[in-house]
Amino acid sequence: MNVENAQAQMRKGVLEYCILSILSKNDAYATDIINELKESKLIVVEGTLYPLLTRQKNAGLLSYRWEESPQGPPRKYYALTEEGRKFLKELNASWNELVEAVNSISTRSSKK
């Protein structure tokens, strides 16, 4: 078990949550989401995103519309659905719980 692998697993776990978070602020197309995720070093390659977006869309969390692009092919703009918002709220709650849990464990263990 190496560090990189563990980090990748962690990122992977929060990736879907982060996508929904980004879309809760603004509608966005894939490249926007990617740029934001890249800034936060959550993903390395863009290819990762597409299967996730498609799955979330198919699960009813996201909807999309086509918009003309100033250059290149038309873009898919993704937006959260009502269901997506509910889903995100639940994830927010569990994320906060998780962070607290992790924090409390690590602070307690550091005290020892």
Partner: protein, 519 residues
């Protein structure tokens, strides 16, 4: 200079360098094999393609129109390789089981469409075993005779084996190191991918693409027709080869082995003698050898060409035919000239006729009319009565152990002479007048007279040792003024030239007294 390839990616046209195209295709193939089996796979693939199109679009401008390998590599590093993609729904364990983007050396059996005759099964097998395709093909053809199911196996392999389409697959087929995830395409999957493409086209609502489907269908029909055509060509090739070999055996047995393989009546008769023997009648053996050799070449060269063409149709190998073909043509023309020349100068049609004439006056008799009869019983073995009943064959000869016999011709002249005269004209063809005369000298002819009756032998004879050449004998009877001649019915088919009767009607003189206008 580089070759470029135009592609349509998400409805946009890009021009790619050939190496860039190959790399992109491999990459997209790997993506598509990664996602194809998922129900949302098509959408993911088309999203990714659309993103790649966007990146490409940002890379081209007025000054740079072509996507290079570098651009493609950038795209791949931006998008990531399929094994780098996270997949939330997949268990981590399975991701390790996934095929690596880079594969270790491992040969796979494919069909090789680029070197194919039918389906490319043979060339695929050859690539798999690392040998030349023609060896496999030859083996398949030869083994088909003892193992008749081979064509069926071939067809099954044709259906089951995937085509090696991408350069990665081609490398894999040869067992070289491959840098792409393999796509195990069976024919069924290929069909599926076509169906997916069709679906993608209709989903993206780019209807001008529908023309591609029509093109695809036409292409498939064209492919099928091409395969049928190839099969027909191969069948023609095989029949050419077989017919050619049979003809070659026949002609060599005729010319060199003198009918060792075929009965004499296999060949048509020429002038009433067997075809093969016809050529033995030339004056000297040297000419005969040259003639038969040249004749052999005249017939054999086109046959060999036929066989070669047939084999070429079957195995479709490339060869520089020009020098050999030209040499063959020259040789063939030379042989033809030789054959024609020998036939013209030494054969029956031309040449120099040697001729000797023996003349004799008949003994005196009291009657005014000479009566001509053909000798009834010639006393020759194998003699056929046909000589008395038909005039068909100009060249009637028969032979026994040591002699050859020929039918004679009778000519009648009317002269102002005092006596009946009989002339026996013996002719023979030869290269020179002298040798012709000498061989004519050996011709024997007999007749006998009994008062006013003249009995003519129906034949002349010649010893076989004289290697005779188209001998002929005419018996000319000269009828003096005031005398008559009676030709018996049995002379009918020997009559040739009768004075006062046109040559076509000469046989009508038989059974008559000539000249009939007097008395």
């Amino acid at each position: 200079m580089k070759k470029t390839i135009k592609i349509n990616l998400s409805g946009l046209v890009f021009t790619l360098d050939e190496d860039a195209y190959q790399e992109l295709k491999n990459y997209l193939d790997s993506i598509s094999s990664r996602f194809r089996d998922m129900k949302e796979g098509n959408e993911i693939i088309s999203d990714i393609e659309s993103r790649i199109a966007e990146i490409f679009q940002s890379r081209v401008n007025d000054k740079k129109e072509v996507i290079t390998l570098e651009d493609v590599n950038d795209v791949i590093s931006i998008m990531g390789k399929p094994e780098d993609f996270y997949d939330a729904e997949e268990e981590p364990e399975t991701s390790s089981k996934r095929k690596d983007y880079t594969r270790k050396e491992n040969r796979k059996l494919y069909r090789d469409p680029e070197n194919a005759i039918f389906g490319g099964v043979g060339s695929g097998l050859a690539a798999y075993f690392g040998i030349e395709p023609w060896i496999i093909r030859l083996l398949l053809v030869i083994l088909t005779f003892p193992i008749q199911v081979i064509p069926i196996i071939y067809i099954v392999l044709w259906i089951v084996l995937p085509k090696a389409l991408t350069s990665g697959q081609r490398l894999e087929m040869r067992g070289e190191k491959v840098t792409v995830t393999t796509i195990e395409k069976s024919v069924k999957e290929e069909y599926e991918s076509v169906k997916e493409n069709v679906k993608r086209v209709s989903e993206s609502k780019e209807f001008e693409k529908t023309t591609n489907i029509l093109g695809e269908i036409l292409n498939v029909i064209g492919q099928i027709l091409l395969v049928i055509l190839k099969i027909i060509l191969v069948i023609i090739g095989i029949s050419f080869a077989i017919a050619g070999i049979a003809a070659l055996i026949a002609i060599s047995s005729l010319v060199f082995f003198k009918q060792a393989l075929f009965p004499p009546d296999f060949w048509p008769m020429i002038h009433g003698i067997p075809f093969a023997e016809y050529f033995h009648n030339f004056t000297d053996p040297g000419t005969y050898t040259l003639f038969s050799f040249a004749l052999f070449l005249v017939i054999a060269i086109p046959i060999v060409t036929l066989i070669y063409g047939g084999i070429k149709l079957i195995f479709r190998f490339k060869a520089n035919d020009k020098p050999v073909g030209l040499a063959g043509l020259v040789l063939w023309l030379l042989s033809l000239i030789t054959v024609v020349t020998i036939a013209a100068y030494d054969g029956r049609g031309g040449g120099t006729a040697g001729q000797t004439t023996e003349s004799d006056y008949l003994g005196p008799f009291t009657s005014d009319t000479l009566r001509i009869y053909m000798q009834k019983d010639p006393g020759i073995e194998n003699f056929s009565d046909n000589w008395y009943y038909t005039g068909d064959e100009e060249w009637n000869t028969i032979s026994d152990a040591d002699k050859t016999y020929g039918k004679i011709n009778i000519d009648i002249d009317f002269t102002d002479d005092r006596k009946f005269e009989i002339l026996v004209r013996k002719k023979s063809q030869s290269k020179s007048k002298l040798t012709g005369m000498i061989s004519a000298e050996y011709i024997n002819y007999r007749y006998s007279q009994n008062t006013n009756r003249l009995y003519l032998d129906p034949y002349f004879s010649l010893n076989k040792i004289h290697n005779w050449n188209a001998p002929e004998t005419e018996v000319l009877i000269r009828v003096p003024e005031g005398k008559h001649i009676y030709l018996d019915e049995n002379t009918k088919y020997f009559l040739d030239e009768i004075e006062g009767i046109s040559s076509g009607d000469s046989q009508e003189a038989a059974g008559k007294v000539l000249p009939d206008n007097e008395d």
